[in-house]
């Protein structure tokens, strides 16, 4: 038998050893009854609930709702944020108009506006998507603007010297040169889009992993709450990985 071909269990554990210790502690401490079941049920119970919800489709259905809201909102924010950010950096009039708005808008803790969005747009999907778009617009726009401003002047000059017209400069030089910064903005906005979606779902309901989580608290089923949290962590992790892979492939040259 060739041991080298086998999956390296020790190596895989090493990279997450602190996590494993915490999970083992969780199981041991709760099994010993040191923490009230309602506050923290044993990991094994939570996992059992998790797989039960996975099997009956409840988890996938709610994950789909959450993902749809977060991703559609993020997509809208990306288009608007990149357009506004790049135009701000290239055009004084656009900058004059948007600079004060960005200065005020960026630092606002967007979660504080959930009730306002409920008043204006209700508690349906549209309302949640608009809120995600508004909340993630700022980091995308600011990163697009700053990275466009920082494009090396010599690159622009070199292109002009070789016959690139002013209106083609944007596509030929400015956008490719600014793309790493634009991607960074997206990476900042991604977890934000999930946070906004979860919070809105907790407050307003309408399904989704956030709603599932709060339902567990309200119905005294803490295994449901923790199972939803595990699902949320997986969704966040997978989306973050996907974006990293996209970055590595699209920006191979950096």
């Amino acid at each position: 038998m060739n041991l080298d071909r086998d999956f390296d269990v020790v190596g895989a554990l090493k990279s997450v050893y602190s996590l494993v210790i915490i999970l083992v502690l969780w199981e041991v401490v709760t099994q010993m009854g040191m923490i009230h079941y309602y506050f923290l049920p044993p990991l094994s119970d939570v996992l059992a609930r998790f797989f039960e919800l996975l099997a009956n489709g409840e988890l996938l259905e709610n994950a789909y709702l959450t993902l749809k809201r977060a991703v559609v909102g993020l997509a809208i924010a990306t288009v608007l944020g990149v357009v506004v950010g790049v135009l701000c950096a290239r055009n004084a009039a656009v900058e004059w108009f948007f600079d004060p708005i960005i200065k005020i808008g960026y630092p606002v803790p967007i979660i504080a506006l959930v009730p306002v969005f409920m008043l204006w747009f209700g508690i349906n999907d549209t309302s949640k998507i608009i809120m995600v778009a508004v909340g993630t617009f700022w980091p995308i726009a600011v990163n697009a603007r700053d990275s466009t401003r920082q494009v090396d002047k010599n690159l622009v000059w070199a292109a002009k010297m070789m016959g690139t017209s002013d209106w083609r400069l944007l596509r030929r030089v400015v956008l490719p040169a600014a793309s790493p910064g634009i991607m960074t903005g997206l990476q900042i906005a991604l977890p934000l889009s999930l946070i906004i979606t979860f919070v809105f779902e907790m407050v307003a309901g309408g399904g989704g992993l956030g709603a599932l989580e709060i339902e567990g608290v309200r119905s005294f089923q803490s295994t449901l709450t923790y199972a939803a949290i595990i699902a949320i962590m997986i969704v966040g992790l997978v989306l973050d990985r996907l974006l990293r892979v996209a970055r590595a492939r699209l920006l191979r040259w950096t």
Partner: protein
């Protein structure tokens, strides 16, 4: 032959609203087609400003710059700039950098690649066509910069301390390579440097600029036998004498700026 440059009463004043700084003043100078001219001067004398005016990146305050009798109007493909920091497009491979100017001339893909390959081979870059700039050394980056500029066929090369960031042996290699190309391709070259030896070694004539504001101080013709090797040229009396002459002229300018 094309590539004559006529500079008449050129003046450049930077005005940032509160302060006016004259960078170039009353500069008149002719460069013949196919001539290699170096510009040396103390730092801050406006030699880079002069180069950027020739490139069309900056607008002159007064005076004129003509290429073959036509005043220049911004950047244009009749001239090519080689930058000290290379200014390669990092998202493009070596091949894609060299084809950039040809794409802008709407040349077909096949022709583009074969033309670019010619210049890639000329600059000893074969085998690196698909590498990105970040994967290259400084010397190789500048060879890509030269290939990219030569490929689209400008008559005039404007070089802004192109070898300033490279160490001595590499710099000498690139100087010799540049001389070979210049001998083969009949380009007019304006070469800005702060290195007197480099200026004399490469040029037909060397212009020394005054300290501030910058204008033409002396023009020294270089008369050396280019068929000889680098070692023979560097150690020859003609070379040493010319170098000293330029050095003394430059020295007066750097000294005049020293505060007592």
């Amino acid at each position: 032959m094309d590539g004559n440059v006529t500079i008449s009463n050129l003046e450049k004043v930077y005005d940032d609203g509160s302060e006016r700084t004259t960078a170039v003043e009353d500069l008149t100078f002719d460069i013949d087609a196919g001539e290699f001219v170096s510009v040396v001067g103390p730092s801050g004398c406006g030699k880079s400003t002069l180069l950027y005016l020739l490139a069309g990146f900056l607008d002159e305050t007064s005076g004129t710059i003509e290429v073959d009798g036509t005043p220049i109007d911004g950047p244009g493909t009749d001239r090519g700039v080689v930058f000290q920091d290379y200014a390669l497009f990092p998202w493009r491979t070596v091949m894609e950098n060299v084809t950039y100017g040809l794409e802008e001339q709407d040349m077909g893909k096949e022709e583009r690649r074969s033309t670019a390959q010619q210049y890639i081979d000329m600059m000893d870059l074969s085998g690196f066509e698909d590498n990105y700039p970040k994967e290259l050394s400084g010397g190789m980056k500048q060879r890509v910069g030269l290939a990219r500029t030569l490929a689209y066929g400008p008559k005039i090369l404007l070089m802004d301390e192109p070898f300033g960031a490279l160490d001595q042996p590499l710099r000498e290699d690139l100087q010799d390579q540049l001389l070979d190309i210049w001998g083969d391709l009949d380009k007019t070259v304006v070469f800005v440097t702060h290195d007197v030896e480099e200026a004399v070694y490469l040029s037909d004539s060397v212009m020394v600029m005054t300290r501030h504001p910058g204008t033409k101080k002396t023009v020294t013709d270089v008369d050396i036998d280019r068929s000889k090797s680098r070692a023979d040229i560097i150690t020859s009396d003609e070379f040493t004498e010319t170098k000293n002459e330029v050095w003394r002229s430059l020295r007066e300018e750097t000294q005049s700026g020293v505060q007592p």
